[in-house]
Subunit: 229 residues, 2 copies
DNA sequence: AAACAAAATTCTGCATACAGCATACTTGTG
DNA sequence: CACAAGTATGCTGTATGCAGAATTTTGTTT
């Protein structure tokens, strides 16, 4: 089953601006990235251009271009003469990344309090309330998704493209860890309390407070995830 | 004059770990990146694979791979069917990036105060003193280089690879702006005062203070650069 | 002369072909 | 039986060829 440009997930299209034709390149990048995140390509695995290309139904040329792209994102490492290897993250790498992510989200929170419109904030409140419903029902997966959405929303509300961009890069590197770490011993009540404080601070446009909660929240993420690294 | 792997700048080699063979890929990436930073490839320019390849003495295949790599770094934009274009940064893009960079350096300062060895700090003191000599002589270029070195050193002393990595990405995107902005109406004395406070805070391992100075210092960078954007 | 349409050219995107290097295997020797 | 050297296979890295899209040029019409 060959990979085609139409396999691009909808979310990858930029609906503002001129409509861009989907490209095979983007499709391959997205597919291989998913394979890494979902563990189909385990850390340390050497990518075999012939096999992987056949598996995806594309020739080596666009596949190699996608590999270079992902290497630049930090998901793959290039070994000259030996091709690409799925990057291994040490526990320290993950911890370091979470510290940086926490700081970025803190900054995003501060900026969001300055730059978000009232309507923007109402949207986050909406997400928050829906998440709380899921918490009441102890419905894990939709809770998790809405949780992610809230964090992305805060980034978006910062209206700082540079911040969003570097956050995405770092986030992508850790997505796999989060993916496996999701089953860990979460202190669910504590996380929910954090989120209550977040939405309060955001609605009060209290950037300092929001920033602090977001950073503290990320510290707890490390506690939750570190056993899995 | 064909581009060869030997044209790699020394600094690109990772001297720790196994010695890696220089690759044409890295050489092309570095060369094109420089061409963008130095303005040889102006923002908005469409990269012509045929011409550029001939100019560098390489075929289109490795060139295209390098282009994808740089696109992932954010220095190029890919237009499906139209190839790659040197990315244009708006004034807001630059301002946003500087805010994020300032925040990152602030975090790096805090971490450096925790994680740097005394010897590490002495090295920065050394750089600082040499920079001050250059300031006394009003010797602009070496001052500028030492200045850059000090900022990189603080990042390095944070001992946080993730932070160093994302900082480098954002830094690379702005290098061209810094390059042209360097001639601007710098408030040299003010910058020097900032640096005096930085080294004091670092030697006192006062993370809070160092962080604040670094962030304020970056705000001034925006003032110095914004006229050129 | 200007505007539009159509053809020709040029460029990108992808596939394939080939050369050189890395690795695995085999075979010979101590 | 173990180890080393030589051989063979297979993979990566690079160049080239081809098809289709984009752009430019040219011709035609108003």
């Amino acid at each position: 089953m060959a990979l085609e440009a139409a396999d691009l997930p909808i979310g990858d299209f930029d609906t503002r601006g001129p409509i861009l034709r989907p490209t095979l390149h983007d499709a391959i990048v997205a597919r291989v990235r998913d394979m890494i995140i979902e563990g189909e390509l385990a850390p340390g695995t050497r990518l075999h251009e012939g096999n992987l290309g056949k598996m995806l139904g594309v020739s080596r040329t666009p596949l190699r271009e996608a590999v270079k792209f992902l290497a630049s994102e930090g998901l793959l490492e290039l070994s000259p003469g030996k091709g690409a290897v799925v990057r291994q993250f040490t526990a320290k790498d993950v911890h370091d990344s979470l510290i940086v992510l926490g700081n970025m989200e803190g900054l995003a929170g501060q900026l969001a309090c300055q730059n978000a419109s009232d309507a923007d904030i109402r949207e986050v409140r909406n997400l928050h309330d829906r998440m709380m419903d899921m918490y009441a029902k102890r419905d894990r997966l939709p809770y998790f998704k809405l949780n992610q959405n809230i964090h992305s929303a805060i980034l978006r509300l910062s209206k700082n493209e540079a911040l969003i961009s570097v956050h995405n890069i770092l986030q992508a590197r850790l997505k796999r860890i989060r993916y496996i770490g999701n089953e860990g011993p979460e202190k669910w009540a504590g996380a929910v309390a954090d989120h209550e404080e977040m939405i309060e601070a955001l609605e009060a446009r209290d950037g300092e407070r929001l920033s602090k909660v977001l950073i503290a929240h990320m510290d707890k993420t490390w506690e939750r995830v570190k056993h899995a690294v």
